[in-house]
Amino acid sequence: MLLMLRRPFFWIIALAVVAFALAPVVGNDVSMRESLLLDALYITLASNLNLMLGYAGYVNFGSIVFFGLGGYICVWLVNSYNWPLIPSLIVAGLGVSGLALIFGFGILRLRGAFFALATIGVIEAVQAFVENFTPWGGSAGVYLSGEIFKPLGGPAHALWIIYFMMVAVMGLSLYLSFAIKTSKFGLGLLAIGQNEDAAAILGVPTSRYKALVYSVSAFLPAIAGGLYFFKSAFIQPSDAFDLSLSTEALVVGMLGGEGTVTGVAIGAFLYEELRGYLLTSSTFANFQLVVSGALLLLIVLFFPGGLMGFIYSRFPRTQKVLE
């Protein structure tokens, strides 16, 4: 771990996180804070998805299940048992991670496209389940009362705290991606992504590694989900298990360059800013899906390496610094 401190990339992440945290504070700019909160959320989702897609080479269309279930567990604990926010978040993270671990051993027996299909099945099954699950409000969802913000010093103050927590979750996601990439675990995952049979023959415990990374990639998105829906004070299945959010996490990863830490983060940031612009512009508001679809198609067809693939090939030295 100490070795990481000597890597310039460690400090680049630290700098980015501090910049994120301070930017809206400087001008006390609430609308900037809200926009950056979404950026941090996207970076969190995309970075964790990247552990599966970019490292292990598995397309997970259902990554949003982690986010949604985390949101439900957290909201449910806060609402029904009056738990404070932080323990609820931790239980949500651990619970979803644990579920993913158990589930991962089964579903990850599938390779390639079959795994991708099964993840679509998972998201639909979970959503259909929650819509029928009365303790979680069924399809109507759960509303939280305004009281929940009191322990955090009232709504205005609470929103700042939630923002800082989201930025922290983003920072942890980036460090997690970085730490895994530079570890033996990461090397094994990359080998699996390249050629799973060869990796197994070289001694990589493929099943265990895949289940483990599936579970690890669930933890921080679940916490982010808890934070997000706590902030909204409302959760319903169609928001929590929105397939298009899963898709966008894939798109931004491809956009920035799957398998890289920097690329995915920049891709998520740029995409979310673009989306914000498109949603507010009157011409494009209805075409958000079209734009992300066209973007994904162009990247897949012409720039499979994404932004970082381009930068690495133009400036080979950046490979040594930017992971």
Binding site: A191, Q194, A198, A199, A200, I201, G203, P205
Partner: protein, 251 residues
């Protein structure tokens, strides 16, 4: 000499095809054992049975006294058994050094990353790939990829190295070089089990030879004995060129 790998009555059937039948032999510590036989004799299947790609239907496989019958490939690798593939299986987007680091990390000694890098460098040097260490595996020539297979298996510090036609597809100069590499590996005390079609090479490299035909053992012995064995000559007579080579190389 003690037996490193022991096969007892190993059998495997695929649908109607009995790929390997009642096969027993042993690989002794420190030797090079050559495995020959006509195409479709079950040689590659045998490798897949030994390192756990397929589980045998019958029989027992013991490695250094441990029963490894039907163990998963990654566990077999941990016991110190590494292999190369007839059709090369590089991790294409990784560099040569990274490929070998994977081998070293997850091989017999289960090394931590920084020590694995050192072992990988060593394996790269032994196989003569040092100039290409930072190249991506996909950029190598066929000969380079074959060497990479070998380097990666070697990086795992195996007790037993299984080579599946590492000489196939190489030109004479490359074959010479590869034979040199194999001798050097053996001098380091690594036991080798190798499949090869190039008769001259395998006859000169091997201490002993096992001949397979239709999934069964046809003969076993030192190269000179095997080459004179009537049944072996008969099996190869379907292929006069090979039979002639067989005769020639033992003379």
């Amino acid at each position: 000499m003690t037996a490193l790998l022991v096969l007892e009555k190993v059998g495997k059937r695929f649908g109607g095809l009995q790929a390997v039948k009642d096969l027993s032999f042993e690989v002794r510590e420190g030797e090079i054992l050559g495995l020959i036989g006509p195409n479709g004799a079950g040689k590659s299947t045998l490798f897949n049975l030994i390192n756990g790609v397929f589980a045998p239907d019958t029989g027992r496989i013991t490695f250094v006294g441990t029963d490894i019958t039907g163990e998963k490939p990654y566990r077999v690798a941990r016991h110190g058994l590494a292999r190369t593939h007839q059709i090369v299986q590089p991790l294409t987007n990784m560099t040569v050094l990274e490929n070998c680091t994977v081998g070293a990390c997850f091989g017999k000694d289960n090394l931590p990353l920084h020590r694995a890098r050192a072992a990988a460098r060593d394996a790269v040097a032994v196989t003569g790939l040092q100039d290409r260490a930072e190249a991506r595996a996909s950029q190598l020539t066929i000969a380079g990829k074959k060497r990479l297979e070998l380097a990666r298996a070697l990086a795992a510090q195996p007790k037993l190295l299984m080579l599946d036609e590492v000489l196939a597809g190489l030109n004479p100069t490359e074959v010479e070089h590869m034979i040199g590499v194999i001798r050097r590996i053996r001098e380091r005390g690594v036991t080798i089990l190798m499949i090869e079609h190039l008769m001259q090479a395998i006859m000169s490299l091997s201490d002993r030879i096992v001949v397979l035909n239709f999934g069964q053992k046809l003969a076993e012995g030192v190269p000179a004995e095997v080459a004179q064995h009537p049944q072996v000559i008969e099996a190869y007579l379907g292929n006069p060129k090979l039979a002639a080579e067989l005769q020639g190389s033992s003379a």
